[in-house]
Symmetry: C2
Subunit: 614 residues, 2 copies
């Protein structure tokens, strides 16, 4: 029975795939057929069956066009076209509230709710790639991190009930987000609301990479039994449960949504959809086409360009080499392996020494702490924006126990990003936890030597802020003894002005030093190396012949590294100027504008220094 269903599905998806090749919406000159008449649910309801199918073509064109023009999520949106159409056909958005998780699959919803221009003409109409209530009354939250929709929806539903209102509250979750702790907590709580609460689980068999963990085996068993397996986590939690194997079939979706609409019981609708549906390469290479860069439609091979060396490849090569001598190396990712260099081609090379825990950062933290305690050499690679998802585990599981796990924090820094994905908060987050050593390398050689130290010492948890900028190489092997904690490196000795420039901003520090030299000031240039403690001896010595200390960090100032220097000098005559980001959520602001706003340019910094030296 299982096998038969499975092979039926394989056959079906193969025929889908074959059908895509000549799909009319792949034509760059495609003209949308019905999308222009659609502004919200009520317009979708007017369409005939064939018009609904035309609308699906229009939406696929919009998804491909946007991603090809400005980049964006691709596979999950392509796979969620039909469910979105059916949702809007059956439910009355925005009275019925559709709450999207993580927004990987929100493009079709955006196009149906007044924001089609952002997809048909993305150059001229700057629409965010994420749920955003400032854009539309059909969105209710700004969301870019996974696993939040169920919790948010329980709150929305509870407020509805307190107010005595009646409408559907629908959480849309999928693409691997269900394994995140908040999602599971929300799932458990949604079950006991005692009123209308509909969770649509978009099961496309994937996270960004493959999905991982017992939870996804549970979904697989449900898929393979056409929803009939008695092993059903949703029913076990108290949900009414509905399964649809062909989750890209508009008619069946409409029937199913009509069945659950206005239910007063907690309900899970489990949809089996095809990630990438409608675009053959995205079905064949699901991880690669989860997100794409502009221009991918015209490229033969659209794997991300790996032009030369970068910190992802440096890291991967280091770890592969390490594995030769340390069979207890344990490389860990929480569902973002490719973003940190653990691409599909290299993951198999690590064998059992690589574990993807799924979207489950708390688990990653507990896992590496446990593995370190028991003598393995765990290295967890995580993005700055996502390490936020596990503060308490960093503190209690790892730091309090002083277990020698290595945490590599990628993409930390001040740069243009969606407001949901800023990389500026990791320094305050990590560096104010006792026991953790947070290192900030400025060159490839430092980074490699820090990796050596972190993965051989047994005294501390060590986090390394992997440079987010271009690779800087000195060509000289680093031989620093990093076990001498909080020993800053004096790279050039001068007087009057000392520049303490951390990580990626070390180069900015050099530029400031050079600019000062033009006006006859020989500045001291310091690479602090450590973001978690101060070199008090050095800082005290600076008092003798320095008047001002400048700190540069590529992160938010509040709670960051520079403020610790300011506190240290509080009782002295030393002036301190801290540079970094203001405490704010910036949304797709250009890096150059951010640098100007925060005065992160040599000429602006020198201007400030001169004011203080007067």
């Amino acid at each position: 029975m299982k096998k038969k269903l499975l092979s039926m599905f394989i056959a079906a998806s193969m025929s889908y795939t074959a059908a895509f090749a000549n799909a009319e919406y792949l034509n760059p000159n495609y003209k949308v057929k019905v999308l222009n008449s659609i502004n919200s649910s009520k317009d979708v309801k007017k369409l005939s069956k064939s018009q609904l199918n035309d609308l699906a073509d229009d939406l696929r064109y919009g998804i491909l066009n946007r991603a090809n023009t400005v980049g964006g999520h691709l596979g999950p949106d392509l796979g969620f076209v039909e469910p979105t159409i059916a949702m809007h056909y059956v439910f009355n958005s925005p009275q019925d509230r559709i709450i999207f998780d993580v927004s990987h699959q929100i493009y079709p919803h955006k196009m149906l709710t007044g924001r089609k221009d952002g997809f048909l003409n993305p150059i001229n109409k700057n629409i965010s790639g994420y749920s955003n209530q400032d854009e539309s009354e059909h969105d209710f939250f700004k969301v870019g991190h996974t696993s939040t929709s169920l919790s948010l929806a329980t709150g929305v539903a509870k407020a509805r009930d307190l107010k005595g209102e009646k409408y559907n509250v629908i959480a849309v979750i999928g693409d691997g987000s269900l394994s995140g702790g908040e999602a599971l907590e929300g799932l458990s709580n949604g079950a006991v609301l005692g009123s209308n609460f509909i969770a649509i689980v978009n099961d496309n068999e994937m996270a960004i990479a493959e999905d991982h963990g017992g939870l996804y085996n549970a979904l697989k068993e449900l898929r393979e039994s056409n929803g009939k397996s008695s092993n059903n986590i949703f029913k076990a939690l108290g949900y009414d449960y509905y399964y649809l194997d062909d989750g890209n079939n508009i008619e069946e979706l409409i029937k199913l949504f009509q069945k659950v609409k206005d239910t007063q019981k907690p309900t899970v609708v489990h949809l089996h959809t095809l990630k990438g549906m409608g675009y053959e390469p995205a079905v064949e290479h699901k991880e690669q086409y989860h997100w794409q860069m502009p221009g991918f439609l015209n490229q033969k091979d659209s794997s991300p360009a790996q032009s030369g060396e970068n910190y992802n490849t440096i890291t991967t090569n280091y770890l592969l080499n390490k594995l030769k001598t340390n069979k207890n190396l344990l490389v860990v990712s929480a569902a973002t392996p490719s973003a940190t260099g653990l691409t599909p081609d290299v993951r198999p090379l690590f064998g059992k020494n690589y574990v993807d825990v799924g979207i489950a950062e708390q688990q990653a933290a507990g896992f590496v702490s446990g593995a370190a305690e028991n003598g393995a050499t765990p290295v967890w690679e995580v993005m700055s924006s996502f390490v936020q998802r596990t503060y308490d585990q960093l503190s209690q599981d790892i730091a309090l126990n002083n277990n020698p796990a290595t945490i590599l924090v990628f993409a930390g820094g001040i740069y243009s990003a969606d407001m949901t994905h800023l990389g500026i908060f990791d320094i305050p987050l990590i560096s104010n936890i006792p026991n953790i050593v947070y290192l900030s390398p400025t060159t490839k050689e430092e980074y490699l030597h820090m990796l050596d130290w972190a993965t051989t010492q047994k005294q501390h948890p060590v986090a390394i802020r992997v440079p987010a900028g271009a690779v800087v190489s000195t060509g000289e092997k680093d031989t620093t003894d990093y076990s001498k904690l909080n020993k800053f490196k004096v790279e050039a000795t001068g007087q009057d002005v000392a520049i303490i420039a951390a990580g990626d901003f070390y180069q900015l520090g050099k530029q400031v030093k050079d600019k000062l030299a033009q006006q006859g000031i020989t500045a001291t240039l310091i690479n602090p190396v450590y973001l978690t403690g101060l070199d008090e001896e050095l800082l005290n010595n600076l008092k003798a012949d320095h008047k001002v200390v400048v700190t540069l960090e590529s992160g938010v100032l509040d709670g960051g590294f520079g403020e610790k220097i300011a506190r240290f000098y509080g009782n002295s005559d030393m002036k301190v100027l801290n540079y970094g980001a203001k405490k704010e959520f910036t949304d797709r602001v250009s890096t150059d504008e951010l640098y100007t706003r925060y005065r992160l340019k040599p000429e602006l910094i020198v201007e400030d220094i001169n004011k203080v030296l007067k």
Copy 2:
């Protein structure tokens, strides 16, 4: 069938209870029978059946004696006596690794592993109430926050497998901890380890208070079906599953553990135990006896003494009153209601306007954000040490969306505590997130007025650091307009020295001011009110006739409030002295010693001020 089993169990537990009344171990002069010969698993294995039962009596005596002498967890430990004996009888600790969650139920384990003196003679032998590898090779982690054991154990098991070692890795979780996100992430990942991994779920039908959420309904259904229900979340995730209804029966426990020992499959052992077993009041009043204060055995009524007004009662009374005019008030706790004044007697008064989400802080954050978005007035009460468990949701779910949820942070401050429960990290955690307003009241009147503002305004998420010290009342109604953000209050105007004293430390600031007055210095005294922003106009004005600014905050200095003041004055001649806690995990250090160490005493602070003024 279900009903029959249920009534059998009720009858059984009633007979337990009746049997307790004359239990010999309740005699203060009880002499232990076999405990003195037990130092680890191998000693337990030598005991006869009747000696094992004697050992259970000994352990109950130890639990009661310790809690009655120095205070401690009671109900969960009493209920886990027999499973602990059986674990040590069957498994070979420490080769087999037993990893405890949260440590609410670890006392019997401690007594069997060389630490009995801490229970038989707790005055003379200071043993921590929590798992601690520095105390014994039978403990593997320092643990005091819930829901971590499964994640930690997956890491331990993975390291074992990489090293090619063979032994059992056993996670013990219960007492409501299974609903926490990390536990659920860990449960999902434990299922796919592919090797020995045993989760013992100690189901005593409770968290600290009642357990909440669909997860606990799922456990209930399993209990009521004697483990037979097809709705089985553990099986759904891929576990082999065993249920024991009489989880306090040593013989049955031994048989069951022998069955699962050395299994190579992921296995859940679901034990139904009786919280408080062996001490009648603890069975009758499970929440009250979760933890007890010294001397409870001799008291008639051992409800926590509520002598006069405190910030818990002030908060509860305020909210009960608020409910009269705002039917959309939503009071939320994540499983610690009594600790913040939501005691069992008052919870029913809130009716549907009160929700305990269980041990699930991320859910609490998402829930209140969703409820605020949809027009309810959510107020979440949380302990400082546990608000750490949801940084990303504070940032992404609440702050990024600027939803007007109110978060009351209790027990924040510098005081003697177990290293796992420090209250010093909430200021860096919360105050460096954009958009949140974090208020620090210094008096009852301020607190009440801040509550008024927080729960009526619609512009910001507002957190309030509820004073942890004694109630200070001015008797004068506060009429401050808190919507004028970051407006500090100047309480006394002087010159040379300005003292910015936040929250509980405002009184310390006053003492410093008084002490300075004795030497002829009239200091300015400022209540900053806001921990999330600076009153730049005021701070600039101080430059005119002040030489030094002193900041006082009852929390860690790193990333905290004072450093922001130091940064502000970095480019000026103003000296800044920051007072607060050092970045360290302190373990049961007395408050007085902490105050001395951190120089938080008027005479020490004045000494420092005089040095700077010289």
